[in-house]
Amino acid sequence: MTDHLLSLMTFFPLVGMLIVLFLPREADRLIKTVTLIVTIIVFLISLPLAFDDVFINSSAMQYTEFANWISIGQYFQMNYYVGIDGISLWLVLLTTFIMPIAILSTWHAVDKNTKGFMALALLLETGMLGAFISLDLFLFYVFWELMLVPMYFMIGIWGGKNRIYAAVKFFIFTAVGSLLMLVAIIYVYYYALQAGVPFENGFSIAHFYQLDIPAHLQTWLFVAFAFSFAIKVPMFPVHTWLPDAHTEAPTAGSVILAAILLKMGTYGYVRFAIPLFPVATMKFTPFLALLAVIGIIYGALVAMMQDDVKKLVAYSSVSHLGFVMLGIFAMNLQGLSGGMLQMINHGISTGALFLIVGFIYERRHTRLIVDFGGLSKVMPVFATIFMIVTFSSVGLPGTNGFVGEFLILVGAFESDLRIFTVFATIGVILAAVYMLWMFQRVMMGKVTNPKNAELKDLSAREVVIMLPLVLFIFWIGFYPNVFFEKMNPSLENLINQVKDKQHIAMMAEEMKPTVTQISVNDLR
């Protein structure tokens, strides 16, 4: 059972999808219930991972599974090779945790073509989980592309007014990046074969980590990988698909997009781009940190000016993920673990914010800030939860946001990125400004619009959706150690591995015995 825990977890949603496809089209409630049960089962399957202490003691991959998938003569070997370590652990659990919540939020929000929506949601879950646990680059690429299709249809079919534009933009942006990554993947594969990595290992990243790729090649390969991930994160200036996609997507889509899909980009940096090409990483760190800081401040400023709550939250994502990127590129334990934690935090708090936007949209069918005001008197329970989530997003001490941002800033300050940290701190202040200002305009003051006077407070279902999120906001805020102790061994290992390679490269640079140049012709 535990031998195949990861496969079971990853492909159970696919089984659920098949079940859903055979349910009658009209049985709306039945389809939703089945989907919810499937996602809860997936969560339960993944739950033992959270309590496994092996992650505290070991940085190695756990629960690995290996099988030959495609082998073609002496050309290619693609393996089904999966495993989980401290880096992917919490992202996998975040995924399985958010999915039931997202499904529950569709109870009244999705009413046309429920069957299609639920089938796509389950397919998406398989894609996301698969991407997080892949230890084979080819397998990762397959899951990575697999995620694209369901989200495209979710935005396009169930989205808002501008959905077609948003869906196509989302698809093309993401696909362009990944296509270039594909070329880089094939190139790395050939390089590895050339360098003597055994053929049977296929695209296994563990073996790719050990390669000594010459610096000038690393640069190009890093660019291809980093570009693809930067689009997904999204980093400034390729972030433009995000506000469109978020604004037009249905609530559940936005939640999944914000909570999990964006993490694919940052996870991609930690798992692939940085450890595969450490020397190039060193070269690009200032540039990427600059983009991250621009993203932090730009995202915050644009968020401040939004009159649509959902757009505001979308731009706040750009800002928050800028922090995550800054933490990752600090390349020390504080920064990296802060960045990893902030991924989880962003998933929880931004997911919660999108749910909140969904609640008021379902009631009033508008998301404009001016249409609201004084809601706290009409909806006290809602107001409390909204306030907690707002504080978490702002990063108030005691909530999860504070821990993450604080560590990121400390980490970045201690690294070479000190100057960037100064500017990033402005982002923290701006975040308080746009979030609290929005909260004030929506929730405080007098009820100016008579339509708002009769709004119902949260239903029991809605409270059930929000409670786990609120719980985690405080848990991570007060006792984040549970999370750190399991991710730190893997992160330390990663940092050592990267720093060693960077160190050797710098030594080589100083001594200047010409590093063997391997040109493309040698690969023939």
Binding site: W69, I70, S71, I72, G73, Y75, F76, N113, Y141, V142, E145, L146, L148, V149, Y152, F153, G156, I157, R163, I164, A167, V168, F171, I172, A175, V176, L179, L180, L182, V183, I186, Y187, Y189, Y190, V520, N521, L523, R524
Partner: protein, 486 residues
Amino acid sequence: MENLVQIALQNVNVAAILPSLILTCFGMGLLLINVFLPRGTTRPAVWISLIGLVVTGFFVFTGWGNPQYGFNDAVAMDNYAAFFSITFLFAAGLTILMSDEYLTREGYPVSEYYPLILFTTAGAMWMASGTDMMTIFLGLEVLSISLYVLAGFFRGQVRSNEAGLKYFLLGAFSTGFLLYGIALIYGVTGSTKLTEIGIYLNAHGSLLENPMTLAGLVLLSIGFLFKIAAAPFHMWTPDVYEGAPTPITAFMSAGPKAAAFAAFLRIMEYCFFSLKPEWTAMLWVLAVLTMIVGNVIAISQTNIKRMLAYSSIAHAGYAMVGMVAANEIGYSGLLFYMLAYTFMNIGAFAVLVLAGKKGEDNLTLEGFSGFGFKRPFLGVAMTIFLFSLMGLPPTAGFAGKFYIFAGAIKAGYIWLAVIGVLNSAVSLYYYLRIMVYMYFRDPEEDYAWVTMPVTVMISIVIAIIGVFYLGIVPGKVMDLAKLAVF
């Protein structure tokens, strides 16, 4: 005279032409049977021709790994020919399955249609197995003449007539180029046998710079580039593809195109291996041009048949990348891609056959509004084929492109691979547009619910299975493709 006959008989090896011989016999027999059938009865022809394809396929399969040469080395039924033959047979089979209802709907239930497809397939098989310029030329002519008739099969429709005539005029012209090229090469080397030409050119290095050799190479290439619809010889494609009966368009884009690739690649590899740097450089430019022309012009199309015609040009460009790579992966990738393309493209056309109304004026983007909700199964099928054409995993299109671009990267053509994937990115836009209309728009008008004919459904299901089989577990077929290349 008696001597000549003896020489000819000595070299007869029926096994080398057995599959295509069987197919031809089925075609001729079918023509005879048709005489005795009442007009408008086409069902028997469908089944007999399908049986013919299956029997032929059986003999191709049993001949695998056991190459047969014959007729003074004019024909070689080797693995290369066998792999391509399987591709042609699948193309022909899927086409025949989707044709019957279509012909009835459009008002031409004429059973001569089926023997013509069999003859085209036989011609394609000769092209793939020909090791003599003359055999290849004969195959090309048999294939082309049958196709001219098929393209203009709807006598009463102006568009179909235009397609047939245009294809005939331009096709005849390009055949002229090809023949001229053969003549020049014969003039230089004194032979029409591919291997002999290759050895002769290799042994006489000075001939490689001889303008007559180079002119011959270029003229030969033009003939084949026309058939595979590579830019700048693609002009006929959109009109012919749009005007021809839809199943024939599907067939043309898969079978005959693969046949042209088969002969082209064999000639290049057998005769001109000494000129490899020259012809790969030429094809590099043309591959890029073909991909760009196909993909960019496809963006502005609103007629789906026409859009798929341009997409087919672009796909010829991807396949040419495999030729440019000129290594084992590139070549076997090309073989694999042709088979993959057969499934995904013919599948897409089969959906169009079911989606179209008489006259097919509704096969536009607008006409596809809300199609995915009105006809859920066809919508999903079309979506699968489009994703495969885009090259998304886990479909056949992805696997094919992966091998071809991997071949290019291995050969050091990184930029060609980058241009290739960027072209795939461009293609996303127009393939997505079809899906946007199918799923993101509401239906404009109700069209009558058409009963789904079983035969067409079978061809769609086979195509879906093919797309996923080649996409998820491509190992087996790719191994065969590897054994098939030189």
